[in-house]
């Protein structure tokens, strides 16, 4: 069960739009090392974790990753606000725009939709923890 808080974990206030930058940042929502994958990874793996400290960490970090996903989506949303047709074409955002307009959709930087194949949940706690270290190491 989750409770929603009507605030971002860290505030986002973007005054200048930039559709090219939005495409690079969007992968942190729907890409292989993005927040959606991180949240699903930890929240899925916690069920097979036998140690109470590690269950709590997977649960609480997985929950926080959902908050991070919301921050990334807010950044992308604000970066693509009030774009002109010329800006959409020149920035290369037209490929995204034709399918999703300025809606938020989880994709990686090359436009491939989010895929659960980007993470594992093996039922073996040591294997899963190694996968977690590799995944979070990739974004450092």
């Amino acid at each position: 069960m989750w409770n929603y808080e009507k605030r971002l974990e860290f505030p986002v206030k973007i005054s200048e739009t930039n559709a090219q930058l939005a495409q690079a940042i969007a992968t942190q929502y729907g890409g292989p090392d993005g927040e959606s994958g991180a949240a699903m990874r930890y929240l899925s793996q916690r069920f097979a974790m036998p140690y109470k400290e590690a269950i709590a960490v997977l649960n609480d970090v997985g929950t926080e990753e959902l908050g991070h996903a919301e921050i990334v989506c807010s950044i992308v949303r604000q970066l693509t606000r009030d774009l002109s047709v010329a800006e959409i074409k020149e920035s290369g955002f037209d490929k995204y725009y034709v399918d999703h307009t300025t809606g938020i959709y989880p994709i990686n930087a090359s436009g491939v939709p989010f895929d659960a194949m980007t993470f594992q949940s093996t039922g073996d706690p040591l294997t899963d923890l190694h996968e977690d270290l590799a995944a979070d190491g990739a974004t450092l």
Binding site: N3, Y4, E5, K6, R7, L8, E9, F10, P11, V12, E53, A56, V57, D60, V61, E64, E70, C73, S74, R77, Q78
Partner: protein, 91 residues
């Protein structure tokens, strides 16, 4: 800073964000250090401040959580009125 005796919305929100971050991070530290008394006391103090600030914010500017949605004693459902966090003027 205060406006008409009310704490400024932006300042109050900044404080809520700060203590909330302290609650989340000290909580996660406690997940693996459940007997650390210093951390436990820090968590209790931050969590207490957070609760007070959320109630204060709700009473002036609308609820940020369902738990504090009763704080404004209004005859309408204010949850839908204040902007969402990704919107202009949101948190």
């Amino acid at each position: 800073m205060s406006v008409n005796g009310h704490p400024c919305k932006k300042d109050l929100l900044t404080q809520i964000n700060a203590v909330s971050f302290a609650v989340i991070d000290s909580g996660m530290y406690l997940d693996t250090h459940p007997c650390d008394l210093n951390a436990l006391n820090y968590f209790y103090e931050m969590n207490k401040q957070r609760g007070q600030m959320l109630r204060e914010y709700a009473s002036y500017y609308g609820p940020l959580t369902l738990d504090t949605a009763t704080g404004s004693c209004s005859d309408r459902w204010n949850w839908i009125n204040e902007p969402w966090p990704w919107q202009e003027g949101g948190c």
